[in-house]
Amino acid sequence: MTSTLDENNKEKMRSVSVDLNNDASLLIDIPDALCERDKVKFTVHTKTTLSSFQKPEFSVPRQHEDFIWLHDTLVETEDYAGLIIPPAPPKPDFESPREKMHKLGEGEATMTKEEYAKMKQELEAEYLAVFKKTVQVHEIFLQRLSSHPMLSKDRNFQIFLEYDQDLTVRRKNAKEMFGGFFKNMVKSADEVLISGVKEVDDFFEQEKTFLLDYYSKIKDSTAKAEKMTRAHKNIADDYIHISATLNSISTDDGTANKKHLEKLSDLFEKLRKVEGRVASDQELKLTELLRYYMRDIQAAKDLLYRRARALADYENSNKALDKARLKSKDIPQAEEHQQHCLQKFDKLSESGKKELTGFKGRRVVAFRKNLIEMAELEIKHAKNNATLLQGCIDLLKSN
């Protein structure tokens, strides 16, 4: 038990920050990814000292659907019911930059060449950022699995890492899709049903209310943060246009204003860059963080659900046992079932408690780290802006 605990500790440490992976026994990263239309092919590279793998180092090509499959199998595995299964990475979304690119192409006539080039460049940068982000979340998913004491030993996970052919996971067909949807319905209905079950443990009771509350709040925050980031981006885009227009005015202008206009256009161009960086940093450090923990909390909620389910089962089995005793029929069977349920529930509770506490610490640390980083970056940008402006003012004044 102690060994597991130690290991646990160790794993916890590592998951402090989601992108840290310093466990030498199993190192996973995605060094490369290829985007083909809607599909993104990730190259998953693994370096390990564990004997369960055949080779110490290998890379395999994987697609987003493979990740989803892995996640689903983990969720469905009974043994892991007491664990917070790391949330599956979101589907790569290249729609918005693509759409913007399309729009830009339509509006090309209304812009100057430079303006268009800049906008295009900006969009490409955005596209690249989205791409990188996608790779990152997939990587994080794998890293979290690898850093988890139990999940890292999962057979499916190891297959996922090792099997050097295409997994060719069968895509979900319509029936299964519907089934999944139906399952979700049942689950939420079930949640309502079992919410009446009396909680036996204060910890879980608290945790449940907290998570529910927190989830809605963080969801809201995420949406707002996204909006804010987008507004920043819009401003950066405006700066591009303003800068370009000023530039074209300055070329038309033959008077003393020419210089000023040029300077101003330069300034706006630089401001644009800073503003764009502010936007991307905010996106990376704040919005991403919130988004990730939103999903993580969802996973934690799922854990609570599973536990509540087990509790309900246990209650039911108790009732069944009582009934059996009353009727003095099938008593051993009911007893066995009741024992089974109790065991399961206890196991879930125990691991759940551990997971949740760990999750809490992890969350706090991750928040702290990201917020600090964001603050530092923002200070940096503000300083940049200030020096830019000051420089430009000095320049204009000296002229």
Partner: protein
């Protein structure tokens, strides 16, 4: 004579006096007009009867001479005042001398035919002796301000009697009269006009050189005087010459001078200069111009550098020789001169614009109109018509003069530009529009603004004054100005547009931010508009502007209402203008204008684009501020939901910071609007005005072309008639041709003038634009900077003792004063996360007991993290190992 100078009238009589004077002035001016009329005809066409008898001959010049002094006193002193207080346009006054001058020149023409080269000093002396005494008397009496009215009345009376005399003399008009008499009277205008050298030539052919000296010197003096006038307030400027006149005339040198110019050169020269100045103040263009011209002829001889008269030199080069060599054709010379005065007027008037507030540039226009369009409503318009008809009879010479005037325009431009620059530096007037206040209720409500003016210009009575004006007053001012100055090619700064929507919102009375925003926006625009108007050298001189700034009550501006009949008419006018603009195909002769027009149009487009962009920037910024606000709120909620106290604190800190950020973004959005977007909107409006002035130029060109086409037609008719041999109709046709020729010339001149003005104005506009733009941009950027800046000291401090316990408090206190400083906010964010770290450490120990071992092991790590940020990873590493 020092005492008399001390007693000389104060530059600005007291208000009561002024009013009294004003009432007098109306009468006095009328009489002045008559005087002007009388003076020259009588001078050039001397009736024999008067000349024979010495006393009347003497008395007449004395009258004549009296007029200039009174005018000296009246015009510079009273007119600025009267025009300030009364709506009497000074233009009339100015236009009269012009007519006189035309008369004079024509008369001189006639007289010159009779003239003999012999010098007639004696008569001059006789005629001059008494006048000088009278002059002194008048001046002396005028030194008492209170008596001034009386003097004016006197003059009026005398002038009236004069008139009767002259009318008599005109009817008599002995043509073949004694040359002596002719000469004698001729000298009178010489003195009156101060320096008509053509006549002095006649008078003293051998003494040209001698006279030349004083003349040249006089010119120097004149210039000096002008400079000094330009610097000093007009009143004192006018006062000085009067003082000097007194001195001179008391010595009786003036009379002697003419007798023995050689001996009393020095004495004569100041006298002449006095007259020169007086002329300039009084009659500005006709007299000043002629004097300058004659001076220039002398200048040629003496080769003394004369800068002011440079523009006129062309004329003189031709006129001078003509005068000397072709005495047989003086008619041409003088008509030429008469025409040539038009351009030289500009010189005189630009010089004078400084000194004689009211006159200034608009004189040019009025003067031109007087000669060309006869549009003034003065009682003498009919006479003027006659006058102008005469020169038009000699059309060839006129056109020659016009062509002469052309090359001058360039030199004029330069000259005027120089003047402008000088003037710009001198401008010391600041107008501010403050305290918008809603007056009335419902749909009749309007906003009143307080217009405060602060100036050191002496043309205003007070240093500071404040009036209340409503928005339509501003529009009314613009209407007046654009009506008056627009057709002449001036760029009249446009006021902000009427906004029914915005105003209705204000009227409905919702005190929401958008209506306050609207009012503030408008207030700023109005202020800039007024400042632009007063910064314009010639618009500042406009009586309407001054009235607007100074007068307590202003007649309500009608026809500015968007939905009124006038507004409808305006709309129709605009539409027709637009149509005609499209139909007029102007083949541009001047490359400069073509380029400028294109430049302006493209700039207009670009600025419009920029404006929409900046507007969208504002919108986005507002969006950002809204989003930030909602994020702050939701972060606060998240913070409240957070069960970890440290993180909860940190989150609420973050919320606070974001709240401040929201404020910052809002401020920035306001900045974007007021500083940047409004600046651009202003430019768009101004560019519209520039285009308007281009249109005016085009219109005037069109008029010219039309007239030319008409002339062509008339000529063809004449040719036909000639062919058909119909002499009676032929005469009519000839008259028509002459008429149209005159018109063509007028329009052409008009066009040239408008072109010159537009050109000057555009250059000025560009200069202003560059200056303004730079200033505004710097301001805007400073605002941006302010919102981005942070004090490095506090920042350093924070970085240094990140772990300090009081950091949180420090940071907070630092943040409050520096509200809205981004970096600060970032700083706070940082520190709040630091605070969070610290709290984390504590929470690890005093958590609610539910903390299991893993969390507890977190404790040391976190504390280690706290100890130093970059080491945290290492710390973890260490721990892992």
């Amino acid at each position: 004579m020092a005492t008399s100078s001390e007693r000389s009238p104060p530059p600005f009589p007291d208000a009561e006096d002024q009013d009294a004077l004003d009432s007098e002035e109306v009468g006095g001016r009328d009489s002045d007009e008559d005087d002007g009329e009388d003076m020259f005809p009588s001078a050039s066409n001397p009736p024999l009867a008067e000349m024979d008898t010495a006393p009347p001959a003497a008395s007449q010049p004395s009258d004549v001479l009296m007029k200039p002094p009174t005018d000296i006193m009246n015009n510079p002193l009273i007119e600025p005042v009267s025009s300030q207080t009364k709506n009497e346009s000074a233009s009339e006054v100015v236009s009269e001398p012009l007519d006189d001058f035309v008369d004079l020149t024509n008369n001189i023409t006639e007289a010159a035919t009779d003239k003999v080269a012999a010098a007639e000093e004696d008569t001059a002396v006789i005629s001059f002796d008494e006048p000088s005494d009278d002059f002194v008397d008048i001046l002396g009496s005028e030194t008492e301000a209170q008596q001034e009215e009386v003097v004016v009345v006197d003059v009026t009376a005398e002038a009236a009697s004069d008139k009767s005399e002259v009318t008599g003399s005109v009817t008599d008009l002995g043509l073949g009269e004694g040359e002596q008499e002719v000469k004698e009277t001729f000298t009178v205008p010489v003195i009156d006009i101060s320096v008509d050298s053509s006549s002095t030539d006649v008078q003293q052919p051998p003494g040209i050189e001698e006279i030349a000296d004083p003349l040249v010197d006089f010119l120097g003096d004149d210039l000096l005087g002008d400079d000094f006038l330009g610097d000093a307030p007009p009143a004192t400027g006018a006062q000085k010459p009067s003082m000097a006149t007194i001195d001179l005339f008391n010595d009786d040198d003036g009379s002697d001078i003419f007798a023995e110019p050689r001996q009393t050169k020095s004495a004569k020269q100041p006298q002449k200069s006095l007259f020169g100045e007086a002329d300039e103040d009084l009659f500005d263009e006709p007299l000043g111009a002629t004097s300058k011209k004659t001076i220039n002829t002398e200048r040629k001889d003496k080769s003394v550098p004369v800068k002011a008269a440079a523009a006129a030199s062309d004329d003189i080069n031709i006129a001078g020789p003509l005068q000397e060599s072709n005495p047989a054709e003086p008619a041409d010379i003088f008509t030429e001169e008469a025409v040539a005065t038009a351009p030289s007027v500009a010189v005189a008037s630009t010089v004078n614009s400084k000194t004689n507030g009211v006159h200034s540039e608009e004189e040019t226009d009025i003067f031109a109109e007087a000669t060309v369009e006869l549009s003034l409503d003065s009682p003498q318009s009919e006479r003027k018509k006659e006058v102008t008809d005469k020169p038009s009879a000699s059309a060839p010479s006129l056109s020659a003069a016009a062509s002469l005037a052309k090359p001058q325009s360039a030199a004029l431009d330069e000259l005027e530009e120089e003047e402008d620059e000088e003037q710009e530096d001198q401008f010391d007037i600041y107008v501010s529009v403050k305290d918008p206040e809603k007056i009335g209720d419902g749909m009749n409500a309007y906003m009143a603004y307080k217009v405060s003016t602060q100036t050191t210009l002496s043309m205003f009575r007070n240093k500071t004054f404040t009036v209340r004006r409503r928005f339509s007053d501003f529009l009314g001012l613009y209407e007046k100005l654009s009506e008056k100055h627009g057709p002449n090619g001036f760029i009249v700064p446009p006021p902000p547009e009427k906004s029914i929507l915005g105003m209705t919102k204000v009227k409905v009375g919702k005190e929401d931010s958008s209506s306050a925003d609207f009012v503030e926006r408008r207030r700023g625009a109005l202020e800039r508009y007024l400042q632009r108007v007063v910064n314009h050298p010639s618009l500042l001189q406009d009586p309407d502007v001054r009235e607007f700034l100074e007068r307590e009550e202003l007649p309500r501006a009608v026809s500015t209402q968007a939905l009124s009949g006038a507004g409808f008419l305006k709309m129709i006018n605009k539409a027709t203008d637009a149509v005609s603009k499209m139909t007029i195909k102007m083949n541009e002769s001047d490359v400069w204008f073509e380029e400028k027009l294109q430049e302006v149009e493209s700039a207009d487009q670009q600025f419009r684009k920029l404006h929409t962009l900046v507007e969208s920037l504002v919108v986005h910024r507002k969006e950002l501020s809204l989003n930030t606000a909602s994020f702050a709120k939701s972060t606060a909620m998240l913070g409240s939901a957070e069960d970890n106290t440290a993180l909860s604190r940190a989150l609420s800190q973050l919320a606070e910071v974001e709240d401040k950020m929201e404020q910052l973004h809002q401020d920035q959005a306001a900045n974007d609007t007021f500083r940047f977007a409004e600046l651009i909107a202003d430019f768009i409006r101004l560019l519209g005005a520039v285009r308007g002035s281009f249109d005016h130029r085009m219109k005037s060109w069109q008029r010219w072309q039309d007239a030319q086409a008409m002339l062509q037609k008339k000529r063809e008719t004449e040719a036909k008639l000639l062919w058909a041999n119909k002499p009676d109709k032929l005469q009519l046709a000839k008259e028509e041709i002459a008429e149209w020729e005159a018109k063509v010339t007028q329009y052409e001149r008009d066009f040239d003038r408008v072109s010159a003005t537009v050109r000057k104005e555009v250059v000025r506009f560009e200069k202003e634009k560059a200056k303004n733009f730079k200033r505004q941009i710097i301001k805007y950027m400073e605002c941006l900077l302010q919102s981005q800046q942070q004090s490095p000291t506090t920042k350093e401090k924070m970085f240094k003792d990140r772990r300090g316990y009081n950091l949180f408090i420090e940071c907070k206190s630092a943040l409050l004063p520096a509200l809205g400083l981004t970096a600060m906010c970032g700083e706070t964010r940082l520190s709040s996360s630091v605070v969070m770290e610290r709290q984390l450490k504590r929470s690890s120990t005093d958590c609610d007991g539910l903390e299991t071992s893993p969390v507890q092991t977190d404790g040391p790590t976190q504390s280690q993290c706290l100890s130093d940020e970059p080491d945290s990873i290492n710390a973890e590493d260490r721990l892992v190992k």
